[in-house]
Subunit: 326 residues, 2 copies
């Protein structure tokens, strides 16, 4: 399988790295909107192309991984590149998924390609877990918790506060809430009861720390509905301890069965990830394998993770899977 | 969807109960090898038939759930009934799955039906988790733990010991092993380090308790490779506290990503089930929905849980799933 990457940020580099762990894949092209000479891939022999050269690459890429952002890049890029290639993205603006799906589906069908949108872990693996859980235990409740992990959006928001030189925000599930869900108590949880927010801030010299803390904690939409802690640290400590992009979370399904609904069941799926973009990339490549196969079977149009049978993700044959993994 | 049940034991009653939780399903027939008049279904209006009447029921059942045992029932029954119906079973003799698959596949294809074998939670949901984990993190390790839960086979073994009136055996994962896996330490674990076995025994009057304990703990294949605890309790305590059939377990995938393989990831899926047969039945019905759909699409042959796209398990449409679950 020939993999192409469009966009060489954290996610693009994650895909580049993950390709090396999949012997049936090779990275054949990196596409960029920047000047290609400014990009130095870590994989020897991989060529970097301008997005303007896309038409030349039709035979060099089986699946193009779109590594742009959901706000403005992907709504344009995924339908556009589905004209030329099988494509996969990690579009994560939940409310706009139906519209994005429709646009990508039309472009993919009109041009005989397969596309898969909203791949990764949420949306992605967490969505699959919510679907399995609700299908197996129809009378029950769903709970999704995120963290402990870095929220890019909240970290950006901190850095826009006056007097802040650098900052990072961790979203952390509240242990007490996790334990109640895990015990099958089916609690009703407010936003504040589910997650806390912990901020590590490097202040500019002479900045008013009390004012920074107040500005962060009262910021509407981002922090005002949460219990937030602000730690002021030095730039050295920031670089030493907060350079990574860890994340993770939990999906629960709790439900009842039995003639009297007398039996409780708790299903829990959790992720602890040292690198959010690298794990996301790894999920994307497994699904890229699936859409390459669907394309070779003659399918077209837009898919989501819900539409992919698990066997399509594995390099192993059906016989091997049944003999060793079932 | 018209559901039929063959075999009215714990699993069959679990299916009967679970059908009531799925508004798109109804239970239309219970088939039995016994005298039908000896079976009293809990669902009003459901008819009980002898297996000899199977040919009459072709139009009354969309999917027949085979609720027999894996040792002798299912190897015969699943291929046999795949001649008449779409069928689903919970065949769990891992080593014989390829042979069972081949037999069922032939019968299903020859007669235009869809079959699904080895459904439940292990094999079943745990298999799916192992497959997702290995596909996403190709450089990593799998761990499966079972329990805390009742092992039917080990409980039967206890009850065959001289002087034992009644007994139940719980398989329990070792906390220390779970914690090492969860921490991403990739431990190599012996049988003894993964699980302990706890037995609750009601002895016959005047029995030699020390001898019973010795006979259990040294029993080859069942107990000799494990740390086993034996508790002697009264019949009253047994009935009060050990009547249920709880089970559960854990599937982990731990792996690394990054150019230097510097980032660790831990994926954990766990089940805590008050009733093993009722949860198994609930999984089976979700997959029964899938095979009914595949059959209506014109597919034939034998499938496993690996071959079923998650969307097929849900009563919701693709649009609804994308809008609310992705």
């Amino acid at each position: 399988m020939k993999i192409g990457i469009l966009g060489y940020g954290n996610l693009g580099r994650g895909v580049e790295s993950a390709v090396r762990q999949n012997p049936d894949m090779e990275l054949t092209a990196i596409l960029t909107r920047r000047d290609p000479s400014t990009i130095k891939p870590r994989t020897e022999g991989v060529k970097v192309y301008s997005v303007n050269d896309v038409a030349k690459l039709k035979d060099d890429i089986d699946v193009l991984v779109l590594c742009g952002g959901s706000a403005t890049d992907l709504p344009e890029q995924t339908p556009e590149y589905a004209k030329y290639f099988n494509v996969i993205d990690s579009f994560d603006t939940h409310a706009r998924i139906p519209e994005h799906f429709a646009n990508v589906d039309k472009a993919a069908k009109d041009n005989g390609h397969v596309a898969l949108i909203s791949c990764g872990w949420d949306p992605g693996m967490f969505s699959i877990m919510r679907l399995y859980g609700a299908s197996i235990l129809p009378e029950g409740n769903d709970y999704t918790f995120w963290g402990k992990g870095v929220s890019q959006g909240h970290s950006d928001a901190i850095r826009r506060v006056k007097g802040v030189k650098n900052g990072k925000q961790y979203t952390i599930p509240v242990d007490e809430a996790l334990e109640k869900v895990r015990a099958g108590e089916n609690p009703t949880l407010t936003t504040r009861q589910k997650h806390v927010r912990e901020c590590f801030v490097v202040a500019e010299e002479g900045a008013d720390l009390a004012q920074i803390e107040h500005d962060i904690k009262t910021m509407p939409n981002y922090f005002d509905e949460y219990d937030t802690t602000v730690h002021f640290i030095t730039e050295e400590e920031f670089n030493a301890n907060h350079a990574g992009i860890p994340h993770g979370g939990f999906v629960f399904r709790t439900g009842v069965t039995g003639f009297e609904k007398e039996n409780k069941h708790v299903v829990e799926y959790s992720l602890k990830l040292d690198s959010n973009p690298e794990f996301t990339s790894s999920v994307i490549l497994a699904f890229a394998r699936a859409i390459d196969r669907l394309s070779k079977e003659g399918q077209t149009g837009c898919k989501t993770v819900f539409d992919i049978a698990p066997a399509y993700l594995s390099p192993l044959s059906g016989e091997e899977l049944r003999a060793h993994m079932l």
